[in-house]
Amino acid sequence: MRIVVLVKPVPDTASGGERLRPDDWRLDRQAIPTVVNANDEYALEAALKLTEAHGGEVVLVSMAGAGAPDTMRKALAMGAASGALVTDDALAGSDIVSTARVLAGALRDMEYDLVLAGADTSDGGAGVVPAGIATLLGLPYLSYAAKIEPNPDAGTVRVNRITPTGYEVLEASMPALIVATQALGEPRYPSLKGIMAARSKTLETKGLADIGAGDAPVGGAVATTAVLGSEAPPPRAATRVIREPADEAARQVVEFLAERRII
């Protein structure tokens, strides 16, 4: 099986230091180190397990700034075979429409059985790009997967899609696009061997022209959305600390909740 995993380098959320640039309100990607988006790691882990079980390889595709290769090497170190990075100055400030178009463009000439994407990203948080890509490419779209079971001989794949009451078991012919969730299982840590091997893996950088999108209406210049400004939300009031025996503590909490008309 050949599986494409869409990965996005995002500011490390553990730092708590993400910020916007004050001049254009775009994400300041220089402010703090980037990591592979956490939900994309679940997609990658699921893809690696599938290729371990069924043979084949995992290929990464990303649309990001020129600094992305360092972060993509981390994903290669987990076990992906190679990667393609679409990067172009014109793509700075891309909106959701552009992102879906560019990633669909990058996938158009590739061969694969499955495309896996994370449920959303920690920086943009939209969670709508994968559906857009599947729509543009006319691929079966299977979202919010808790389980992925391909049947390579039949050329089909089954997915347990998370619903409010349990799961819908979906079946589609391959190629198909699947949205991965954490329920697929915890991502592996790269081994030392994997980190060494990642250094020599192919990481191809492509411009818009290379994916046949040289004239495509994409990037910041044609963005359909614009940020007007930002502000910190009002700070929370100071914390009230209760150090009392359990019964008294409980009484005070209930009183507090009643005062706030929560109960």
Partner: protein, 329 residues
């Protein structure tokens, strides 16, 4: 413009399991009605499904006009792509200006499909929408550390709205429901549902809950979630959890709150044995009131909770349960 439908603000009416209107859609409809009044534009609900009647009637209590499309294919196939195609076709025909939908899984799937088909931009995870010539959308980003204000650069777009952004309120007078049809093949691949599995312990979507009682590592195991469940029940709330509790298999992933789980904004978040690490904090710090019970006075949650009880949750939580029950009589 009144009556023509062109330039209108549309609301997607999402179907809950069982065919009623999803709670999020009542909220989105209320928000759309408010900005429609400010903008002087028509507000129209759209419900697409195998049996849209019940949800459509409910949606019509919030907005003046609801269009329904009966689409049998959604009964046995993944719905997002199908509903998205029908809504996109309706948009092309009726020429509304904006589409508002929930920011949950169904709304996100819909927004992605419609965005690609209609070439419309998307503003996501709105926590508020006002009107100034166009929709002005507030979004909470970086886990609530920053609120941005955004708008569309053109006269069209999709807004996904977070649960609990507004409180649902019916309109003064109920609206009308009109059945319509959309011609044309469904061009995108149909994805059949071959089986439905009920998962034990999966309750109402936690994003929609007014009160959430959540457990973390400090709960200690699946047995420890018994008191979490009991407190949630006593408060009429839902049960949430941290990633550590989910990864340990104590509670299903659907209940996870945080960076790779749900983002919630309940009126009350009661955190039991939760340290408040940033990956969890980003999922819940915009809650109206945060009450934490933790043994460690230096836990990060003690810095942003409204109230923190320093103590053993297995002593404090039962006392709290008793106090709540005593109060309820």
């Amino acid at each position: 413009m009144a009556g023509s439908g062109a330039g209108a603000i549309w609301v997607h009416g999402e179907l809950a399991p069982g065919g009623s209107l999803a709670k999020i859609s009542a909220e989105v409809a209320t928000l759309a009605r408010t900005i429609g009044e400010a903008a002087g534009r028509d507000v129209v609900g759209v419900v697409v499904g195998a049996d849209p009647a019940v949800a459509a009637a409910e949606l019509a209590t919030y907005v003046p006009r609801v269009l329904t499309v009966t689409e049998p294919a959604t009964a046995e196939h993944a719905a997002g792509t199908i509903v998205g195609q029908r809504v996109a076709a309706l948009i092309e025909r009726e020429q509304p200006a904006y589409l508002l939908t929930g920011a949950g899984p169904e709304g996100r799937d819909l927004a992605g499909v419609v965005s690609a088909l209609a070439d419309w931009g998307v503003l996501v995870n709105a926590v508020g929408v006002t009107w100034d010539d166009r929709p002005v959308v507030s979004m909470s980003i970086f886990g609530g550390r920053l609120t941005t204000t955004s708008r569309f650069t053109g006269d069209h777009g999709i807004v996904t709205v977070r649960p609990n952004a507004v409180t649902a309120a019916p309109a003064a007078a109920p609206g009308t429901v009109e059945a319509t049809t959309v011609d044309g093949e469904l061009a995108l691949p149909l994805v059949p549902i071959v089986e439905r599995l009920e998962a034990a312990g999966v309750a109402a979507p936690i994003e929609e809950a007014r009160i959430i009682v959540a457990g973390g590592r400090g709960v200690g195991g699946p047995d420890g979630f018994k008191i979490v469940n009991e407190l949630a029940e006593a408060l009429g709330g839902a049960v949430g959890a941290t990633r550590a509790a989910v990864d340990s298999g104590w509670i299903p992933y659907a209940q996870q709150i945080g960076q790779t789980g749900k983002i919630v904004k309940p009126a009350l978040y009661l955190a039991l044995g939760i340290s408040g690490a940033i990956q969890h904090k980003v999922g819940m710090q915009t809650a109206g009131t945060i009450v934490a019970v933790n043994r460690d006075p230096d836990a990060p949650i003690a810095e942003f909770a409204d109230v923190v009880v320093i103590g053993d949750l297995f002593e404090v939580a039962p006392a709290l349960l008793a106090a709540l029950r005593a109060r309820a009589g």
